[in-house]
Every structure is written in structure tokens, then in C-alpha cells.
Amino acid sequence: MTDGNIKSMADILAAHPLFAGLDKEITDLLGGCASNAHFSAGSYLFKAEGAADVFYLLRAGDVALELSMPGRGKLIVDTVQPGHVVGASWILPPYRWRFDARAVGDVRATGIDAACLRKKCDDDPSTGYQVLKRFLPVVAGRLQSTRLRLLDLYAPPSEVGRAL
């Protein structure tokens, strides 16, 4: 990858909500781990249990996170919109995806080489801390959304509490 490419990827990263406002030094550093990605509708960004070696910052198109359930087919557990990130399992061992990620429509994204980023974070804990501070709200937000859905707020009264 040339310097020019690295800079342009750094600019793209800096423009994404996940990394917006980070020091230029850090986005330049992260740019060395980034590349453009495109997925056509219906294709998979990754599949459950696969190695979490690339995660994606969505620029256009939605991505459905799914699990396959015998007898019920593929169930969508969450939809990730542009401006958000697909994949958090790259942060922690064993670095395996927990869900399938399917492009709902055409998807344009920035792929981040997870091993590359982990190494840069390990080499410079200050950078690692900045990156983690960007990912923690993502994880916390998804946890909160999941908890709200666990409440089954829209259930008919006859079914309220059935899952408890």
C-alpha cells in the first residue's frame, strides 16, 4: 500500500463516526490496516465461528447479523446501519465471529485488518486505549438494545413474562 493510499484511508477513517475526532496520528496509524470493501446484496461479510480477522465500518448499505436455527432457518438478531461497525469479536480471544453478517443490500465499507490493528494497539497501549474507548460504546449500546428487547415490550399481555 502506498503512502497516498494510507493517507486516503486515514481520511476515510477519520470521516467515519466511529473514529471521528481521533488524533490524526492515530487515524494515520489505523489507515495502514484499512482497505475498501464492497459486498453485493445477499453476500456474507463473515460467518459465525470464522476467524475474526477483518471487521467493517459501514459507509453504505445495511448488514444483518444472523444465526441459523434448525427448523426456523436464519434468524436476524440485529441490523447494522451505515455509520456503524460490523464486528466486535476481533477485540477479544478467541477472535471468532459469533454471528453471520449478511449484506442486506449493496454494502460499501472500510475493512480493518484486525490482526494489524491488534498489533498496533499492543505496541502502543495509548493508541489501544483510544481505540477501545471508541469500541466500548458500541458494545455497551448493543448490550442495552439487547436488554430492552429481552423485555419483550410489545408482547401481547397474554404472553408477557413467558420468557422469564
Binding site: 444483518a64 440485529d78 441490523t79 438494545s145 430492552l148 408482547a155
Partner: protein, 287 residues
């Protein structure tokens, strides 16, 4: 003169809002497995003018009375449209009413959505589950007043794709109507091409200019609590964010106190409140 003192002085019940008017079921439509929309007409032919957000007390003879939001068009007062979910004895009886059956109606009661505040601004309607029924009059109003509004966005969350209330109407709205609709469900299979998640996830991406937005929210209280936080957190002024609250109503006119929420009686002071008036109350236990 207070309502109670009127009663003490022997004012006729019709004047104090306690006597139901007889209506007949003109048509019924099954919306969901446990949810029906009734079109009611007054037996005396007198239209029931109402404002968006108001409710009535529907009385089934010999069974009881229950508060139900009006889900119809304020421009069509000849038809009283009410959408009811079968929850208890009275609402189950209402859902079971056939065309031609008679019911008693008190109302319209309560205050209304401050729709005129949205004129010249972006209007965001946020609804969850059956909370779409009380905001449908806003949608009718917005469609009729589209050129007076900068934009109209509807954010709707429900349990599953087959639980979308007024599905044909909601999914039929499009950019051609000048309305943008975002629907999210809690769980779906691959036949669903929309969003899966909670409404609060959709709010930030659908907001256009938060400073210039008026938001109106209705749904389960926890959903409204987090939606209020999401809207105001994204920059919508708290005083331009409105919620329709729900409590168990009995008299519907501020006499009995069943629907008390802190200093408010929902039936009399609401059901529509500006967010700052109820924000802190929603996190108080046992209120």
C-alpha cells in the same frame, strides 16, 4: 367551578361527561390476532369532533368501560375509529363486537398532540407496538398539512414483521407522500428486509435537524423513556418532545384519581405531556 361541585349542584350527568352516547359498530377490521379496529357511528347522527391524541371511554353494556385512543382522522368526525387490543374483560368484549352492535361512548376526552407546533419544522413520530394507534391521527394530519412541514418521519418498532399495526397503510407511505418510514422489529427471519433492533437505534439516523424537530412519541412506557432520552440526547429540544402516557383510567375526567402519575391525572392533564413534565416521573418506582 370544579367538576365535583357541578355534580353536587345537580348538573345533569351528560353535562359532566359521565353519560355515554349510544354508538353503533359500522364496520370492524381485524388488525392483528388480538387487535381490532372498529368504525363507530353515533346513533343520533351527530359527529364526534375530536383532536389528534384524544381518547374515549368505550362502554360495553353489562360488562364495563375502558379508555381507548382514537385512531382515526380528525377531518372525518362522522366516523369514530378506535383500535382495541383484547387485554381484559371489557376490551375482549369490544374486540368481539359485530357490525351493528351498540356501544356507549364518552368523550372525546383528554388533551391532544400539539401538532401546530410542528408547522415549519421537521416532525418525527416515534411509535412502538399498539402505540401507533394514538399517533395515527397525527399521520393523517401531517399528510393533509405536508406542505406546512419541513419533513415527516415515522419511526416504528414492534415485535415481529407480522405484528406491524396498520401494515398496509404504514408500508404504503413513501417518499411520494413526503413521508419517510423506518420500521424495526425485535426479531425476524430472512424474509424481512427491514431493520432488526430497537427504535432508539433508528432515531439518530432518521433525525434531520434535531434543533428544528418536534417529536411525538407513543408506546410502552419503557420504550418512551428511552426514546425520550435518545431524542433529547441527539439534540431535539426537550420541550419539543411529547409523550402520550397511559395509566388505568376509570372516570376519564379527573374525578377518581385512578390514573394519577405524580402531580398529574393522565385523563385530565394528559394523556399528552411535554417530556420535561414526565421525564423524572418515569423512573420513579410504583408511580
Amino acid at each position: 367551578m370544579s367538576a365535583l361541585s357541578q355534580l353536587d349542584r345537580g348538573v345533569a350527568p351528560i353535562e359532566t361527561g359521565m353519560l355515554p352516547r349510544p354508538f353503533v359498530v359500522r364496520s370492524r377490521r381485524e388488525e392483528l390476532a388480538d387487535c381490532v379496529t372498529l368504525e363507530l357511528a353515533a346513533l343520533d347522527g351527530e359527529p364526534l369532533a375530536f383532536e389528534a391524541g384524544q381518547f374515549t371511554m368505550l362502554y360495553v353494556h353489562g360488562i364495563g368501560e375502558v379508555a381507548i385512543s382514537i385512531s382515526g382522522d380528525t377531518a372525518k368526525p362522522d366516523s369514530l375509529i378506535q383500535t382495541v387490543r383484547a387485554v381484559g374483560a371489557v376490551s375482549q368484549a369490544i374486540c368481539g363486537l359485530a357490525e351493528g352492535a351498540r356501544v356507549g361512548v364518552r368523550g372525546p376526552l383528554g388533551n391532544s398532540w400539539p401538532v401546530e407546533r410542528a408547522v415549519g419544522k421537521h416532525l418525527m413520530i416515534v411509535a412502538g407496538g399498539l402505540g401507533l394507534a394514538p399517533v395515527r391521527p397525527i399521520i393523517y394530519w401531517a399528510l393533509a398539512n405536508r406542505d406546512r412541514l419541513k419533513s415527516v418521519d415515522i419511526v416504528y418498532g414492534t415485535r415481529a414483521p407480522d405484528q406491524i399495526l396498520f401494515a398496509r397503510q404504514l408500508l404504503g407511505l413513501s417518499a411520494a407522500d413526503g413521508v419517510r418510514v423506518g420500521i424495526t422489529v425485535d426479531l425476524a427471519d430472512q424474509d424481512w428486509s427491514g431493520q432488526v433492533g430497537v427504535v432508539t437505534d433508528l432515531i439518530p439516523s432518521m433525525l434531520r435537524d434535531p434543533d428544528e424537530t418536534v417529536a411525538m412519541v407513543c408506546g410502552p412506557e419503557i420504550m418512551m423513556r428511552f426514546s425520550g432520552q435518545a431524542l433529547v440526547g441527539a439534540g431535539v429540544p426537550a420541550e419539543e418532545t411529547f409523550l402520550s402516557m397511559e395509566r388505568n383510567m376509570k372516570c376519564g375526567i379527573g374525578w377518581c384519581g385512578h390514573c394519577q402519575l405524580g402531580p398529574h391525572l393522565i385523563c385530565r392533564d394528559g394523556p399528552v405531556f411535554a417530556y420535561p413534565a414526565v421525564r423524572d416521573l418515569m423512573s420513579v418506582w410504583e408511580l
